[in-house]
Subunit: 630 residues, 2 copies
Amino acid sequence: MLIDERLEDLRKKINSKVPAGISISEVEFEGPELVIYTDDTKKFAEQADLIKVLARELRKRIVVRPNILEDPEKAATKVRAVVPESAGITDMFFDPDTGEVLVEAEKPGVVIGKNGATLRDITKEIGWTAKVVRTPPIESKTVKDIRQYLRSVKDERKEFLRRIGKRIHRDVRSKDKWVRVTTLGCCREVGRAAFLLSTPESKILIDCGEKPGSSSEGFPYLGVPEISPLSSLDAVVLTHAHLDHCAMIPLLYKYGFDGPVYSTPATRDLSAMLQLDYIDVVNKDGGVVPYSSKEVQEYLKHSITLNYGSVTDIAPDVKLTYHNAGHILGSAISHFHVGDGLYNIAFTGDFNYDKTRLFGPATVQFPRLEAVFMESTYGGSHDIQPSKKDAETKLYDIVNTTINRGGKIVIPAFAVGRSQEVMLTLEEGIRLEKIPKVKVYLDGMIKEATAIHTTYPEYLNPDLRTQIFKEGMNPFLAECFEQVDSSNLRQNVIDGDPCIIITTSGMLSGGPVMEYLRALAPEEKNCLVFVGYQADGTLGRRIQKGWKEIPLGRRETIMMNCEIQTVDGFSGHSDRKQLMRYVKHLQPRPERIFTIHGDEKNTIDLASSIYKNYHIQTVSPMNLETYRLV
Amino acid sequence: MLIDERLEDLRKKINSKVPAGISISEVEFEGPELVIYTDDTKKFAEQADLIKVLARELRKRIVVRPNILEDPEKAATKVRAVVPESAGITDMFFDPDTGEVLVEAEKPGVVIGKNGATLRDITKEIGWTAKVVRTPPIESKTVKDIRQYLRSVKDERKEFLRRIGKRIHRDVRSKDKWVRVTTLGCCREVGRAAFLLSTPESKILIDCGEKPGSSSEGFPYLGVPEISPLSSLDAVVLTHAHLDHCAMIPLLYKYGFDGPVYSTPATRDLSAMLQLDYIDVVNKDGGVVPYSSKEVQEYLKHSITLNYGSVTDIAPDVKLTYHNAGHILGSAISHFHVGDGLYNIAFTGDFNYDKTRLFGPATVQFPRLEAVFMESTYGGSHDIQPSKKDAETKLYDIVNTTINRGGKIVIPAFAVGRSQEVMLTLEEGIRLEKIPKVKVYLDGMIKEATAIHTTYPEYLNPDLRTQIFKEGMNPFLAECFEQVDSSNLRQNVIDGDPCIIITTSGMLSGGPVMEYLRALAPEEKNCLVFVGYQADGTLGRRIQKGWKEIPLGRRETIMMNCEIQTVDGFSGHSDRKQLMRYVKHLQPRPERIFTIHGDEKNTIDLASSIYKNYHIQTVSPMNLETYRLV
């Protein structure tokens, strides 16, 4: 059936189901959703289960929107008139994609009103569906910019969403039934994650990252015929915002991709932030990023966000569901249901099966599951991480020793994830007087990343969420933290009193950490503390291995006279024990597990141990292979 | 370097090496060869090692040709004038690709003359290089037609060869080094052989067959992005002429392929014959072959033939060498040397490690070898074939019993290979009076296939070759054999005396065998004897399994009342024991073996046994997978 005939068919069915008195003006596919436009949104809402019934019968995700949305500026004024001033509205975000207005307020309860009365009044008044959140305690410039940018391209986005909607809901034409995964990177190595999931109908790319510390092998294999032309891709699915998973997504738009990138909302914002920072850092280092901020905008223009647990059609024969991965804010295990019950695959992305200060443990239960592509960063049999408590005690000891001898502590960390975990540890250390009351400087994108964390509190674990919103208790706002934004301030920190510096990049592949290294590494009293995984080939790994002279550029050499410490246990990754426990607890038990995203020996070791212990077929694939799953 | 600059460079080097007095007029790539055009072919020939030296220094296959070739008709007259009439010249084939004239004569020695004097005189007279062969005892219409066709398109071929020559000798551009094989058919099944060998530079398709007995799965997976567009293929390499390996080659030209198909000369002729017959048989059965004789011509126009042992550049980073596979006439194990010593892979195609009445055993020694893609038709642990002697005794018994009760014996067989083996057995049986002196009727393409065998005696084993050329001893010309060309004659055979009928197709998927089946199967006195492998899904396999009522078309049913026998041991394939012995004797010992071209359980069983016995890594791949070899 042609897609327009199918839409016509859906329109007729909807009209026949909807009670008299509700007029349907338009029915359109927009991205993964079927949008019903009506003048009678309120009447629609009064029919308690109508949307659910339609969704079940039509097997589509249904959204109801008013025909005409009030102009945002006028609407904002009307909202402020309806809501009592005591609510403390700080901002409103009108999302034309969804017809929703997000009201940020200090007292969300007042915006909601008794039994939701005030919210309903807003909708009645302006047409937009109102949602309310507590005002984030730290404002994120990234989030603001992105929301503003998306508003500015709303007409293009509407057109894009309708095009993609029609593409997703096209007929399945092939009689063949197979599911394949092609490895385009990240096999027997850490970095340049990129996997192609393909069926006779669809092609989906999972992640598209860079390889830290590598110039020659920095890219996934995007030149192979399997993903050529890029316009043949139905979708890109992003697991989380780290650069080894997302850095090359903007490049896809440069080379002809014009489809959607799915991610959680937090991942969208964090990844765009990190991509822009990546361009900046690499340029400063004299390197070349093969795209510009223009392509990052293209990515944002084509982004579609999904929350955990929402089952979403992303191709005629593929449904995607995101689940918590426990790794960083917004990180998601991506679960694909292919065909009508044909096959189910999960890509874990990076995940943590331990509860951390920030997140709950990764999801381990799925409705169905036949194959898992599983990260193996700490997959080697000796990769046992100390407990978080031991790690924290060790960090406190290092801080105490270094401060006592008048030194400074430099902690290179990913802006997203590790930094916040270490911040929370240090804040508690100072608060409970386990370490001296020194300044903790944040350099690079760390503060901005922290702000994004407070914008999406629903991704944090409940304890932290509660703490953040209790006045005066938000650990991220503790007075020990100070942001460093400029070379001047950086010099002040370097020249100043003993202190702690958390700074990017996490593997010493550029960024402000290099300035601190140049100034502080030659002095014995200082200490460089690694808290995260250092990939092969990165400067961080070399220093860990004991290199004493670090060449910097062509002429300069840094003498590594300072103390070098590694504190394991802050990782956002599951360690070997947790990886094995995760497989043990997986429900249902998968038929095949592919160990990826780890050094060669780790992926092989993990694959072999899983097979021996649980008798599940395992593979440690190489890059550029294709596996037939069914 | 641009290809034209490279040619210029080669021209200079050649000029500097060639002694004064020899003028070089042109140097061109033509297919895999570097052709030097000169007016002084004779002087060139006098410089004993000049061509060898040039070939070694330039690392190219060098061919020297005269600038101007005498018009074939005039040249033929001149040849007849030079050669004594007693030579008995029966035909001459002028091959403009090579500048050679093939003189067929009853007494080749007379054409050669004392110490080759007459041959040299011919070349001096006409420019063409003369080669001489004994006149084939049975004339092949196919061979004649193909040679004539190729002569008629010689200008197009010259252009094609120069285009391909430039393509083969282009610069290697990629810095990446990898070798991959993608399985497009023939994995865990018998049929639709098609494997893609790819590197960052080149894409080579090995075989492109149909799946006998299957309409829905009849094609290799030619629609996947890995081989799209077909024009991106550098070459097709054909292992042998059976339809499950070559039937879909003409289709490639319909869909945009315009590169070369490599094969041995015998494979070229046999495959074109079988493709044309395939069109004919399928059409008669009411089926549709997706190409016509026009595309078979395209295939011939783009064919490049290679003899066993000739190391040939077929892409900038791939050299192909054919080795005897012992399976059918011209069948070849295809050995690929990739990169400059990077990797070596052999595709066995179908092969026989036993000496047969027709061929020597398959080659087991290679200069280098890391991976083998190996057929597994009889790979199951119970697939032990009786000895040839036992098989022949059993066949003689069946013939005797059936003839004695007044019945007829129908032997369905592939036109190429099995038929000739059975013919030789029956001829000996009659000659040595082990079976009665009955007629052996040949139907389908069998006689023509036999003629092609006598055209290429160099592929046969030495005993048979000697026999064929001994007057009155050629077993293929024994008086028991009689060709059946028409429905009338077929009816005569059916109505006539007890006899033996060898007829195509070998798996009862159409062809004249169906007429015999319809007429003879319902009578108990007759006997249907399978002598070859019956693939899953074919009518042959069903009858073997014991089906008693065979539906034919929509209305007709054949009652299988006749005796059904299977005589194993005539196979052109290695049986399980031979497959294991082959692996054991392989030199050098490969690192990886892929078991293909066999039922699912056979490929898995063989892979597992090879691993257990020889500790070589084995895989029984599925279709649509890609393996990284290096």
